[in-house]
């Protein structure tokens, strides 16, 4: 259950940036989380509610965009999205050693109120 420390890290960065931007309130924080990142979005949501209490992001919306696992198949010479996190190409069945997306843990943007 490392979602608490990951959410804390995201929230700290967001609150710092909000302060630098002269914001008084954070309305929404947007994250991009890869399906192969090992982080569970529901657990992040749960952690966010607890951690945001008493900060300028209290009650804010946490929007999590899940990034699918996208591999490159060297045999078919094309990318494929893995439905089950396994690396095998759905067309030729060969495993791919090249993951192109899916491990992201990114703080992408936020909506704030400035005075």
């Amino acid at each position: 259950m490392h979602e608490y420390s990951i959410m804390q890290s995201a929230l700290t960065q967001a609150l710092n940036e909000a302060r630098l931007a002269g914001a008084v309130r954070v309305h929404e924080i947007r994250l991009r989380i890869g399906v192969l990142s090992g982080v569970v979005p529901d657990a992040l949501q749960f952690a966010f509610e607890t951690l945001a209490a008493g900060t300028s992001a209290e009650g804010a919306l946490l929007t999590i965009e899940e990034v699918p696992a996208r591999f490159w198949c060297a045999f078919c010479r094309k990318e494929f999205v893995s439905a089950n996190l396994y690396a095998e190409c759905p067309d030729c069945g060969n495993p791919s050693g090249e993951l192109r997306a899916g491990r992201e843990m990114e703080l992408s943007s936020m909506e704030v109120d400035r005075v």
């Binding site: 259950m1 008084v24 994250l31 090992g38 396994y86 843990m105 990114e106 909506e111 704030v112």
Partner: protein, 260 residues
């Protein structure tokens, strides 16, 4: 209050203007502006701080030609036994130190000290994984000069440690025959990040009716490029291949030399 315009004249504002004619020079309090909604683009890694510290660790290790191996598995898959036996077999070929992470106790550190290598125990408390700054702090307790190999035994956990770069050269994930053949399919993120995968406790293979072929096929579905070792640290099976691989990896790290 100014009767002409209704503005509030607060005590601090000079109001010595005779007759108070408009346009009047006292200051109106600024109109309370409506709060302004704004989108702030961030686009940064959530674990940016850990990633930065991990890179710093990596530079520190590379400058000294030290091979760093992060060993990961579920609890009880044989990490400590494998590491102890690895140190004994490498003997004088590679001067080795160990950092070992657990939530509590120094049992693993005590076990590993029997191998003769310097060991630092990190107790993470309730934290389920090691982070780069914990490693940086532990390294300060070790004599790094002349060291060839640093083995980091991560907290036993097949999920969380996958997300944290420690500054290692190699990630080694253990799959013990007691874990079952399908662990790689159940925990893709961890196995996906592995540079090497060790099937451990091979001496219990038959007792567990472990299907080695199926396990290998499962590993290949997740981590087709990882180097694969089949080992019993207790019986010694496969240990030579593994140790020779570490020696080769260390030579490669030494050749790369210090970072620019």
């Amino acid at each position: 209050m100014c009767e002409d315009c209704g503005c509030g004249l607060s005590a601090g504002i000079a109001t010595t203007i005779s007759g108070h004619d408009h346009p009047h020079p006292h200051h109106h309090a600024p109109e309370p502006r409506a709060e302004e909604r704004q989108t702030v683009e961030l686009r940064r890694a959530i674990l940016e701080k850990n990633d930065r510290l991990a890179e710093r660790n990596r530079g520190f290790f590379r400058a000294r030609g030290i091979l760093v191996v992060n060993v990961l598995s579920s609890p009880g898959s044989g990490k400590t036994t494998l590491i102890g036996e690895t140190i004994r077999r490498l003997g004088p070929r590679l001067k080795t130190a160990v950092i070992v992470g657990d939530l509590a106790t120094d049992n693993d550190a005590r076990r590993l000290r029997d191998s003769g290598a310097p060991v630092v125990q990190i107790n993470t408390g309730t934290v389920c994984h090691l982070e780069a700054d914990m490693v940086a702090r532990a390294v300060k307790q070790l004599e790094m000069n002349g060291l060839d190999l640093l083995i980091i035994e991560n907290v036993g956990n097949l999920v969380c440690p996958a997300s944290y770069d420690l500054g290692e050269d190699l990630r080694v994930v253990l799959l013990s025959v007691t874990d079952g053949e399908d662990k790689p399919l159940k925990y893709p993120p961890m196995f996906h990040t592995a540079n090497a995968i060790i099937i451990s406790k091979l001496d219990l293979n038959q007792a567990c009716a472990f299907d080695l072929e199926a396990a290998t096929a499962n590993i290949r579905r997740i981590a087709p490029r990882a180097r694969l070792f089949e080992i019993s640290a207790k019986a010694g099976t496969g240990m030579d291949d593994w140790c020779n691989d570490l020696v080769r990896q260390h030579e490669a790290v030494k050749r790369r030399g210090p970072l620019d």
